[in-house]
Symmetry: C2
DNA sequence: AATGCTTACGGGTCACGTAATGATT
DNA sequence: AATCATTACGTGACCCGTAAGCATT
């Protein structure tokens, strides 16, 4: 699974609605729909129950939401810590 | 940063050598070199010191390696736990 | 008919492989 | 010259947007 896909999934889960989630992600709703399908193929089972009211999480989806959020936070942290490490290592600048 | 890139980075760090890492990843060495450059652009500083002996981690690289490994493990775990949840939820099958 | 998701289709971008180049021992 | 990494260049795959379709209220 790709972290980009995971970000999409979390956004849909938070909005409970593909259309609004797509807007938040600055993408169109069909593109988002396809990406979610891809994750469901990866995981091997549905993550959302779709209706004309929106999308609600399946049990597997609820699990992935909890785990996925912390993974995405960890990814952001890893990047910012690496950046901080680079700064700390940088030679002192003249005043 | 994308998880695919992070996987590439960790492999190069583990091998200490772009050529061997590329082989492990079933890709060519130039493609891998470009991907690492991309991450370094993302982070904003070099992650490896290159030489004709291979590649060794900078301080920032060492930090990203520790953090990155746990992120990738977390990603795999998230996926497998979602899969396990789907199985647990599945209706009982007839013997 | 209105709302929400999916399928179909065409295009642009990006990641990749092959080939050539650079640098160091 | 041998080894390891980078740059140049063309191509294929993949992701995306537009347009059309399907289902439910």
């Amino acid at each position: 699974m790709e972290s980009r896909e995971l970000r999409y999934f979390v956004t849909v889960a938070e909005e409970g609605n593909f259309t609004r989630a797509a807007a938040r992600l600055f993408m169109t709703q069909p593109a988002l729909s396809r990406a979610i399908r891809q994750i469901e193929r990866d995981v091997g089972s549905p993550l959302f129950l779709r209706s004309n009211k929106g999308a609600t999480l399946t049990f597997a989806g609820q699990v992935l939401l909890r785990e996925g959020r912390s993974v995405l936070e960890g990814l952001d942290l890893a990047e910012s810590r690496a950046r901080a490490a680079a700064d700390a290592w940088a030679p002192p600048r003249p005043a």
